[in-house]
């Protein structure tokens, strides 16, 4: 299971990277989103999967899944949400101001 999930994470990272390298702003935003998903899966599988019960006390389980990666990822999910929202609005604003979402045309000039 861990192997499968790690490979899935790798594929998502690849797809995310590819999208980030494209020209369209929207694709780049979507790429970062997918990249984050990949990272989350990676984190979770590194911690080991299905080795214990849900980390809720009172389940009377012999062992619980490690709660630390989950706590970490919870933070990460929320922050990446903030980032995506900001990024999205930024690209909207960029498009409004410059009339293009092509990164090649949004290139800064040499002596700015």
């Amino acid at each position: 299971m861990e192997t499968l999930m790690t490979i899935t994470a790798g594929i998502l990272l690849s797809i995310g990277t590819y999208l980030i390298l494209t020209k369209s702003l929207l694709r780049i935003v979507l790429g970062t989103s997918i990249f984050t998903h990949g990272v989350h899966i990676m984190l979770l599988s590194m911690a080991g999967l299905k080795t214990g019960a849900v980390p809720l006390l009172g389940e009377d389980a012999a062992a619980y899944t490690d709660p630390i990666p989950q706590a970490l990822m919870l933070t990460s999910i929320v922050i990446s949400f903030a980032l995506t929202a900001f990024f999205l609005v930024l690209s909207y604003r960029t498009y409004k101001t410059f009339g293009t979402d092509d990164m090649d045309q949004l290139r800064g000039s040499k002596y700015e």
Partner: protein, 798 residues
Amino acid sequence: MSWIHFFILVPILFSVFIPILYKIFPRIHTGWFVLSIPIVLFIYFLQQVPSVMNQEPVLHTLSWISSLGIDFSVYLDGLGLLFSLIITGIGSLVILYSIYYMSKEREALHNFYVYLMLFMSSMLGVVLSDNVIVLYVFWEITSISSFLLIAYWYQRKGSRYGAQKSMLITIFGGLSMLAGFLLLSIVTDTFSIQAMIGMREEIFHHSLFLPAMLLILLGAFTKSAQFPFHIWLPDAMEAPTPISAYLHSATMVKAGIYLVARFTPIFGGATEWMWAVSICGLVTLFWGSFLAVKQTDLKALLAYSTVSQLGMIMSLLGVGSMALYPGTEEASILLSTAILAALFHLINHATFKGSLFMIVGIIDLETGTRDIRRLGGLMSIMPISFTITVIGGLSMAGLPPFNGFLSKEMFFTGMLNAAESIGSWTTLFPYVAWLASVFTFVYSLIIILKTFAGSYQPEKLDKKPAEPPVGMLIPPIILASFVVVFFFFPNTLSYTVLEPAMQSILPFLLNTGEQFHVHITAFHGWNMELLMTIGVVLFGTILFFTLKKWSAIYDHLPEKLNINDLYNAGLSGMEKFSSKIIDLHMTGYVRDYLVYLFTFVIVLIGSSALHFQVFSFHFQGNGPIEIYEIVLVVVMVLAALYVILSTSRVMAVIAVGAVGYMLSLFFVILRAPDLALTQLVVETITTTLFALCLIYLPKLKKEISRVRVKVTNLLIAIGVGLIFTLIGLSVQGHRLLPPISHYFEDAYELAGAKNMVNAILVDFRGYDTMFEVIVLLIAGLGVFTLIKLRPTSREEKE
């Protein structure tokens, strides 16, 4: 911390108050406040003379970075004291002079004096530090303060050019000197100069001897403007004249001399050291004096003259170092006179050149020009200035009754002794010395006669000249009187300052307890030196009066030899080269920068992982895989792939949403209910946001890029995925430390929560969550600003 540390740092500490004083007392020239500092320091160092004369010098240590062996240790011996007296003594006079030279209405005096105080501290630090690293730090601060002072009138192009040039050359030298110091410390395992002197024999036979020596000499030669690094000094004349008199003739340029003198006990006696120092010195001596004759700007003339005189002192230190050559006692005593001559001329040069610079500054202020083609006949208008110039000029030319005569005679003696006792090529030294002295005589005459004699041409001058205020004349008068006093009573210096300084340069020459006994006299009978001087006067006078006939040779100097052109070409060449490199990779395309980043990630992480062989895979202990999980994975990957291929915005956004929802399903399966809930909420909001923005964003275009770009993107994307997959897989087989999660199993007792993840977030790592909220807040503010606020363009505002 002893008093001496405090006194070294006093100028820097005082500089804090200079801007305040400048603001509070705008009607009093700031220089009057500053003047007290060098005077107090001068008196302090004068008080140290008796103890330095009679006692062994003491090392005062103030610990700084002791763990690295870097301490602010001060060693006040004869050599350091001699330099300290020059720095503070000339410093006092220069500041007094600057009060009249720098207008308090027009000039930014606070800057000027802050730089000057910075310089004074650092220069004292250079000559008094025993730790080479501390010495290096002070050394570079002198370079920086010199840069700031040359560029003081930064509005002028010439000032900026000169400042940059001096900075580049002296910092280059400083860095190589640092390398030399480090090599020495590798050999001796210490940063203390005195300890290094004690390990002289080991250094001598070490393979790093020659590299260390050459690197340190490079530092000394660049700082002291020795050929071919002399080119920065004439351009440094763009600085205000007090600075030229102080930094660029009396003190800073002598830091190189100091360095050579200070390291003579370590390297002296080696023939390589002698040849390098003396030949470089002699070439500089000759070339400087030869070029000085050509100059028409009085300050440039003095600059070349300084170059030449520094070369002379350098060459004396070079031949004098052979006094430490083992096994030749008689020759040693003979050669030690060269060291004496160097030290004596060091003082003399400071006095006569200082007074000449000050007079040139006065002429510049009074007439509005320094061009000798426009000057002349000022003798009757400015008689006091004229007298001072005659004293300084003739001293420089080496005539009695001025101190320059004494040291010039001693210079000849030193060179003759070298020719006699060392032999081989040194037999040529007296000839070079004599020839350079002839040119020195010629340019000294030029300064005196072309400025003050000849016909007065008021129509060529911008102002009507007159004697300056008395206060401005006092410093050059004091210096000029020293020029005369030192001729008649040279031994007041030799007992007090020169002998201890010689002691520190040639510590091995004498048995313990012995002291040098120096007695300088003006007349030694009709010997070779006197004949040489007479020859200089005769031949120099002839050359001066036939100047017009032979000065054409300056036009025939080969162009290729022009080091200035070489410097300029080198500089612009390097600028072009660096801008080419920058243009090559700084394309302005974000995609290119991301490509660099990802490539580095792949190469660095991948290659180091391969190098340390961290890739190893163990698949046992994996959880079982259910069929529905495979389905989820396949859907997830397909959805992600669809985002790349899709040309419809809506579909792409939905596909990303699908990936997110699949992920939350996985969270459910993988025993993370909190994550699943959060992911679900976040994904919904994100997708809604995307959908909202879609109205405003343009349609997705098909990516039109060249195949090469696409292939690169693909390769990089696969590389990134691969690297992280491999790392992720390797991690599973390596559990180095046991998990600490059992601690959180006490969550109920510790935090009263049954949900461990929540307990971690809101209790154990509460601050993290608080900052996370702040991040959300900032992002929210950013979003709000981007949507709501429209920047009014500049045109609209105006």
